[in-house]
């Protein structure tokens, strides 16, 4: 399978995630959309890694290692993000980002 297919899937996934981040009100959905974008990046990385094996200085593991890093960081990020959302719900009684405008002037 050519690399382009993987990249198209990845780009589509990223666009869906981006749309979710920009358009959703609920912060839970925003976190999920961010996860989508991260996974789009992962697909991109792994596909590139498998296709670039033996090309120059690439040895086929770089992309996979970075993908594992991303997964790890994403797990931590989800934990942190959900904790923040939980606190926010307890404090303000909502998870709707429209109503969270404390940083406004």
């Amino acid at each position: 399978m050519p690399l382009l297919y993987f990249q198209l899937v990845s780009a589509g996934l990223f666009a869906i995630g981006l749309y979710g981040v920009l358009a959703r009100r609920s912060s839970v959905l925003i976190v999920m959309s961010i996860e989508l974008m991260l996974n789009a990046v992962n697909i991109n990385l792994i596909a590139a890694a498998s296709h670039m094996e033996g090309l120059g200085k690439f040895n086929g593991f770089d992309g996979q290692i970075i993908a594992i890093f991303v997964i790890t960081v994403a797990a931590a990020e989800v934990g942190l993000g959900l904790a923040i959302i939980l606190r926010m719900y307890r404090q303000r009684g909502t998870v709707n980002v429209d109503e969270i405008d404390l940083m406004k002037w």
């Binding site: 981006l18 981040v21 920009l22 925003i30 980002v97 405008d101 404390l102 940083m103 406004k104 002037w105």
Partner: protein, 640 residues
């Protein structure tokens, strides 16, 4: 001579000492000031005798100013240096003392008169609640004035120049409970300041041309032709402006009569004998600059002096306030000194400066004694005081006769020297007008003397009493000098070269007596006294008849030629209008636009720009995405 700097420093030390420790000392510390100036007077004699014994090269600081010039001893210490050693643009500031015949003459005058006046003040100011402050400022004045005389560079001279100005201000306004004294103090300070600006600019101009504040370097540059004619003349005229302010020359003469609001000893010391002659001293000191290039600037000096002398002599004749008569007489005589300098009569000017200093200090002290005894200042209320105040009457008469130019007394010789110089070096018009001044001078001195002391003793003056010894004794000493000082002008072959030879800096100038001028001046002086006696002693002629005959002239003179009115008009209509415009400019432009403008702009910008901070996460995210997209497009376009 290397200790000459101690003379002013002692008085400078005395001033704060009196302020700090005065209240605990007997006499509120007044004796500290007197001791300081007495020590200065003693030191003056030491310096004088050392100077007479010095010659070129011994001590090494002494050199001859020029081939025939006097001995000049310059002791200077480096104050500070800016720039690198030996570099062309490095500035080296020194302060030090310069001792030459002019300095010696002035030192003697200032230390002696200051000593006499301070002793006199013990009696005159007795019981004043601010006696300590009075003597502190007196000491500070003495220190500043002596610094002014001893200064060997223009910067130090300027500092001392301003210091005597502030001391004068403080002493004129000494009785500041009286509004007139406050106004007079302010007037004196502001009017002299106008001249001081000229002096400062002149000094800076010389500094720009010569690269140092040193006087000798400036004179060297002026005489050797290193300074161009235009610059030299400009510098001379700027210095003259300062001199005119300080010496109350036309058109800056208005402050001196008002300065009579101060205590009378102050008038005697500051506004007759010492500070007001600082202007004459400055012109004399900077004479090489004035004299360079045929002395074009000296013509201006002569004209200013002559106009001043004429105008103020006329006002002195009609004035009815004893102190103001003396004040206008002072202005007139300062004008004569300026005129003399302007007519290349250097010796004559310095000689008259000293003779006038002693005589006028004496006259003021005499006036103070009269006011002390009678508590009266208006001469119309006085008369016949010789019967109750004999000592004061006699010494005052000596001073008046001396200034009036009666032969053998000091004022005669010095005035004669001036007439000589003017007749030799200036247009005949000058000598005619100068003789007029001499006549008027004799007349107003005679008027003051006759009206106050002779004739019938006035009713209501029986209570008048002679002043205590502490006041009369200084007057007697001054009277001896006012009478006999003229004798030092003579040349005693083989013994003494005469005052002219001592003080003149170009070449030895023997005393010369021009019989024609001398006889005319004697006739005029005696005529002045005789005419005054007709008016005021024998009352053959009534002043009212004169007033009826030429009312416009008498009126103009009595109104002091409307100078105060003109200046008031200028201040109201010109200065205030300009300052109002400047105030509006300051408010509208400097304050509102230049200062508040940036602050207001920032504030408005903040108010407007903060609207983009919505506080919504997705708007930030959208901005981030758009920015990323923009960057990607930018890089993409650039790479293609």
């Amino acid at each position: 001579m290397e200790w000459a700097w101690l003379i002013p420093v002692m008085s400078f030390v005395a001033a704060p000492l009196i302020v700090i420790a005065g209240p605990k000392l007997p006499g509120k510390g007044s004796f500290v000031a007197i001791l300081a100036i007495a020590a200065g007077f003693v030191l003056f004699w030491v310096v004088f005798s050392e100077f007479l014994g010095a010659s070129s090269g011994s001590p090494p600081e002494c050199t001859l100013a020029s081939d025939h010039g006097p001995l000049v001893c310059d002791y200077d210490v480096q104050w500070f240096q800016a720039g690198l050693d030996g570099s062309d643009d490095s500035v080296r500031l020194t302060w030090g003392t310069l001792i030459d015949p002019l300095t010696i003459a002035m030192l003697g005058l200032v230390t002696f008169v200051a000593l006499m006046v301070q002793i006199y003040s013990l009696g005159y100011m007795k019981g004043d609640p601010r006696l300590g402050w009075y003597f502190a400022v007196h000491a500070m004045f003495a220190g500043s004035m002596l610094t002014l005389i001893l200064a060997d560079n223009f910067l130090l001279l300027y500092v001392a120049w301003e210091l005597v100005g502030i001391c004068s201000y403080l002493l004129i306004g000494f009785w500041h409970e009286r509004p007139a004294a406050r106004e007079a103090a302010k007037k004196a300070f502001i009017v002299t300041r106008i001249g001081d600006v000229g002096l400062l600019v002149g000094i800076l101009l010389l500094w720009r041309e010569v690269g140092t504040f040193s006087m000798s370097a400036a004179f060297q540059a002026a005489t050797s032709g290193a300074m161009s004619e235009g610059v030299t003349t400009t510098a001379a005229l700027l210095l003259l402006l300062g001199a005119m302010g300080k010496s109350a020359q036309f058109p800056f003469h208005v402050w001196l009569p008002d300065a009579m609001e101060g205590p009378t000893p102050v008038s005697a010391l500051i506004h007759a004998a010492t500070m007001v002659v600082a202007g004459v001293y400055l012109v004399a000191r900077a004479f090489p600059i004035f004299q360079a290039y045929d002395g074009d600037a000296l013509l201006v000096v002569a004209a200013v002096g002559l106009v001043t002398a004429l105008l103020s002599a006329a006002i002195a004749i009609v004035s009815v306030d004893l102190k103001r008569i003396l004040a206008y007489s002072t202005i007139s005589h300062l004008g004569l000194m300026m005129l003399s300098l302007g007519a290349f009569g250097y010796t004559a000017a310095i000689f008259h400066l000293l003779a006038h200093g002693f005589a006028k200090a004496l006259l003021f002290l005499g006036a103070g004694s009269v006011m002390h005894g009678t508590e009266e200042q208006d001469i119309r209320q006085m008369g016949g005081l010789v019967k109750v105040m004999p000592v004061t009457a006699i010494v005052f008469s000596i001073g008046a006769l001396s200034l009036g130019g009666i032969p053998i007394l000091a004022g005669f010789w010095s005035k004669d020297e001036i007439l000589n110089a003017v007749s030799q070096n200036r247009n005949p018009v000058f000598i005619v007008l100068t003789l007029m001044v001499a006549f008027m001078s004799a007349f107003y001195m005679a008027r003051a003397m006759f009206v106050v002391f002779f004739g019938q003793l006035r009713q209501g003056l029986d209570h008048a009493h002679e002043s205590p010894m502490v006041m009369t004794l200084p007057m007697v000493f001054l009277a001896i000098l006012a009478a006999g000082f003229g004798l030092i002008s003579f040349n005693w072959p083989g013994v003494y070269i005469g005052f002219g030879g001592f003080v003149f800096f170009r070449e030895s100038e023997p005393f010369h007596f021009n019989w024609l001028i001398g006889i005319i001046s004697i006739v005029l002086a005696l005529g002045g006294f005789w005419l005054a006696s007709l008016f005021y002693l024998r009352e053959r002629i009534s002043t009212n008849s004169i007033q009826r005959r030429i009312p416009w002239l008498v009126d103009a003179i009595e109104k002091k030629f409307y100078f105060d009115e003109i200046y008031q008009w200028i201040v109201n209509r010109v200065v205030f209008v300009i300052s109002r415009f400047i105030a509006v400019f300051d408010r509208a432009f400097v304050n509102d636009v230049a200062v508040n403008g940036p602050a207001y702009t920032v504030r408005r910008l903040g108010v407007t720009l903060r609207l983009h901070v919505t506080g919504h996460v997705y708007s930030y995210a959208l901005a981030m995405v758009l920015g990323s997209v923009g960057l990607i497009i930018f890089w993409w376009v650039r790479s293609v």
